[in-house]
Subunit: 572 residues, 2 copies
């Protein structure tokens, strides 16, 4: 009674449902009740057995729709123990003797109310009287959290107000579209998710590491890149998660969890601009402000179907940004549409320092070697179709040389600088990082200044060589080596994907060049998920569930705005 | 394509579903598609017609489960135009020729993904071939917002860390239960929703009024009541909504909307501690820090099934609290369970200033006159049952006199002080308040100092008279005159409920006495909702859907902690 739920409303195996339509078939309520008991006991085999053992069984929640028994079981394994909840209403709609819908309201131990819709069917594949009731489809509404800690550290409505037409920066609601603000405040009405590496006045920088945040003091000024957006009229929605010290492209943070990927339920978000990317994909913000050292904007853009740009190295002021590897660190943004991205980029890139670029494309087939077959096929088709449409000329094939060597130079120099950025703190705070991130920093600690200098010189040489090969043209390549891997992927699987993807993304990193990721490629979702099997196939056998992959445009340094125009004009 | 959803995945009237089980019956997909088109066109008659016209039809979303066609139509009327969304997956499970489940994934225009489960049935009540497909049950998952602006202004994970065992106030995660902190930090692990009337360092006080917030500057120190909770180890989850300048008990804020009431879907939250109450009811915080001038803690506690206490006037330091009517303003808390409330109260009420109280109860039957019949019945039954159980003696009946007169004195003095608190700002900012709140302040502006002084003297007299009648005993009464009114209630209906409720709540206000609201009464939900009709009746005719109402314990001044013990011991 403590939570105001009348005791008699409990549903147990002998409970009376709240409302019933039709004649209650034998065993239905007992099966419903057994499922609730299995949840309470975290009896995973019983929970798995309660769902139809098919490739078409479904389960949906705020994270999206899972199709297929294996996908649902994998989710349950990741979640661990289920919610403690008490059923307080139970509405039964009997459809026939072998099917019924049950809509139940539950009171979770932690407060609020949940709602669950379940389609129960008697197993058609077993013999009577052994035909048990099983769930064919379930949709679960749990009480929403105040804040999704996987995505955000702090959120406001807004957290910081954008500048208004009168020059004030208050906290009043933004002027509507079409107001006099539009010209002087081109981002009026937009909301920004700021990666937790940038200074936001009044808040400390957390860098994705709780112990680091605990020792940090509030910033007194916005980072330059933050101030530009606020000056342009954008509200700050909040400070969003990053991979630990931004030294990952997966989005898996050992302290805060992995932000969800609404484009591919059950898949990782991509990182290190993980929280801002998910916030934009979910519609919780319209602009993600992030950084890209080795792919930290392009990878989440690719995995989540967003537009993104990593800008020319040095083109956006990095004052107030916590560095990872300054030789490669760049600022950039993610959005759901290219128009918003172009408006955003225009606020922060001095036009006088920008150059043009022609839509003259090149490809390097050897770059596609480590890429998944599905991504390779999607990339090749997209280029072929664009050429066939007459919109673009056939890209010339170029040879960028030994990309593995390039990546190795990049990796060494990045790790050396990362250790220089964060090594002192890490040494003083052992055990605070995820093993993979810690291992990368540890590698950085082994690199001598001489090795680092050799890498720098070699990288300089490589950059000139690449620039000479590209000759001001736009390099096309996939933004990532695969669609978003499953949340259930092993560390080894994630690491393999990371290496393959960095082989692509390091090219722009070495060049210091701008790179736009456009969400124009799609691969069958089977290629990214274990255990989906036939579930994602339409009756005709053609899959209709797709996962996004980015098409990446790398242009000459300083061509950021023009490159966005070229990418926006790509036929799709 | 801009959002990465493949064009071919659109579902139109001629679309291929993503997966199908069974033979597609005639007209099903057309009905599904027509419903999506009606949503896009905000064709409310068509949307209403798409749901079965019964008292058992269901619709659930994050706000809870609505049962009955009228309740669903009322919801739709309140919501206004529906979401712009495009179906990107559509999974059909045919159950027989007359029933099918459709689970669809949609891409809302604002980003993210939604999921909808619908049970479609062919109307059993019409003649073939006129039997249209209609929705018998729907569960809707929309992409979650970053922050629910009806409930919160700013949220953090945490926003402010509670003090730790070592005396630090950092931002590290709290120590777990059973840690060494427990003794010195009795609220370690708890999270607080702070009403937006209290100072939180680094944030301005908004008072539920956007223009007021826009002109406010960040506070440099926590309010005393906030500091107590932080010192006791509680984290601040965020700053939550209040009715405008706290001058209402409904919870309806004209700028930010009405926080949801998870205990009664479709009903108002109660206020003015509206956001903190909902936050606790939803499990988004474990402690609501609020104020109660004329019922602003007891009413939301009653409407949402929470435990709550308004403390003895003056017992909790009001430094850093924006005043409404200082003669009556008190601090207090809401929780989901009484143990948390007792622990919280103990941190903030100096034990040396507290007195005891005996479980000796009185009632005044005339107080029940303006109360709804259902609440009167629930209150009377609860008292009778407690007496019958032998746990308490039959409460003595007392006569508190002319409560309407009492309320009028209270109303005059409160309005006078409220105008003194906020009149200058309101005069300088015309048109910024809801009409009902503005009218109350306008009334305050008409009261002369002499009238206010006469009211003060009369109230002093009434207080002595009431204290003499109560003679140190505990007055029992309902916390509110009804269960939570519908969100669709008219202003006149809400005002009538307000007057009836203030007739109850003003007694403690005039006394300056502590009042505990315990969630032990329940009334049939029909009494609080229009259009529910038979939907909430079980097959046996007995309703099983209940709405909470608080049982209120008013004790002598200074008996707060003892009174909580008395309320906790109430048999239920």
């Amino acid at each position: 009674m403590a939570d105001g739920v009348p005791e008699e409303a409990r549903v147990g195996s002998d409970a009376t449902p709240t409302t019933v339509e039709g004649d209650l078939p034998d065993g239905l309520l007992a099966a419903f009740d057994a499922y609730e008991r299995a949840l309470a006991a975290d009896d995973q085999p019983a929970l798995a057995a309660a769902f139809e053992p098919t490739a078409t069984v479904m389960r949906a929640d705020a994270g999206g729709l899972l199709v297929g028994h294996d996908a649902i079981t994998a989710f349950r394994g990741r979640r661990g123990s289920g919610p403690l909840r008490r059923v307080v209403e139970c509405h039964v709609r009997v459809l026939d003797g072998d099917a019924a819908l049950i809509v139940s309201v539950n009171a979770p131990a932690g407060g609020g109310r949940g709602v669950v819709t379940q389609l129960w069917r008697r197993a058609p594949f077993a013999e009577a009287p052994l035909r048990p009731w099983r769930i064919a489809s379930a949709q679960v509404q749990a009480p929403p959290p105040a804040i999704d800690r996987r995505v955000w550290r702090v959120v406001g409505e807004p957290l910081v107000s954008g500048a208004r037409g009168d020059g004030s920066t208050g906290t009043a609601p933004p002027a509507g579209p079409g107001s006099a603000d539009d010209a002087t405040r081109p981002l009026s009405g937009e909301t920004v998710a700021v990666k937790d590496l940038f200074a936001v006045a009044g808040h400390a920088i957390g860098a994705g590491v709780p112990a680091y945040l605990a020792g940090a003091t509030p910033e007194t000024r916005h980072a330059a890149a933050v101030q530009r957006l606020v000056d342009a009229g954008a509200d700050l929605r909040g400070i969003a998660r990053t991979d630990e010290f931004a030294y990952s492209i997966a989005g898996r943070n050992s302290a805060y969890g992995t932000p969800p990927n609404p484009a591919v339920p059950g898949a990782i978000s991509g990182g290190s601009t993980s929280g801002p990317a998910t916030a934009v994909a979910l519609g919780q913000a319209s602009i993600a402000l992030g950084t890209d050292t080795g792919g930290s904007l392009r990878v989440p853009a690719s995995y989540q179907g967003l537009w993104g740009i990593r800008t020319t190295h040095g083109a956006v002021d990095r004052t107030g940004l916590l560095p990872l590897a300054p030789t490669f660190d760049t600022v950039g943004w993610l959005t759901r549409d290219v128009d918003t991205l172009r408006r955003t980029a225009a606020t922060s890139l001095p036009r006088a320092e920008q150059r043009g670029v022609e839509p003259s494309f090149v490809v390097d087939p050897t770059l596609l070697a480590p890429v998944s077959p599905e991504v390779r096929a999607a990339f090749t088709s997209a280029v072929d179709e664009a050429v066939a449409s007459g919109a673009v000329a056939r890209p010339e094939e170029v040879a960028l040389g030994d990309v593995a060597h390039l990546f190795e130079l990049f990796r060494v120099r990045q790790a050396f600088e990362a250790w220089r950025s964060d090594g002192a703190w890490i040494t003083a705070h052992p055990g605070e990082l995820a093993p993979d991130v810690a291992a990368r920093f540890a590698f950085g600690s082994t690199i001598s200044p001489q090795q680092a200098e050799e890498a720098r010189v070699a990288l300089e040489h490589e950059r000139h060589r690449l620039e000479s090969t590209l000759a001001g043209r736009v390099l096309l390549l996939p933004s990532a080596s695969s669609a978003a891997p499953s949340l259930s992927a092993t560390a080894a699987e994630v690491d393999a994907v990371r290496s393959a993807t960095l082989g692509l993304t390091c090219v722009a990193g070495v060049l210091g060049a701008p790179a736009v990721s456009a969400p124009v490629l799609h691969v069958p979702v089977e290629a990214t998920r274990q255990g989906q099997g036939d579930a994602s196939r339409a009756p005709d056998g053609a899959s209709r569930r797709r996962a996004p992959v980015g098409l990446c445009f790398v242009g000459p340094r300083g061509s950021d705005l023009a490159l966005l125009g070229v990418a926006a004009a790509w036929p799709s």
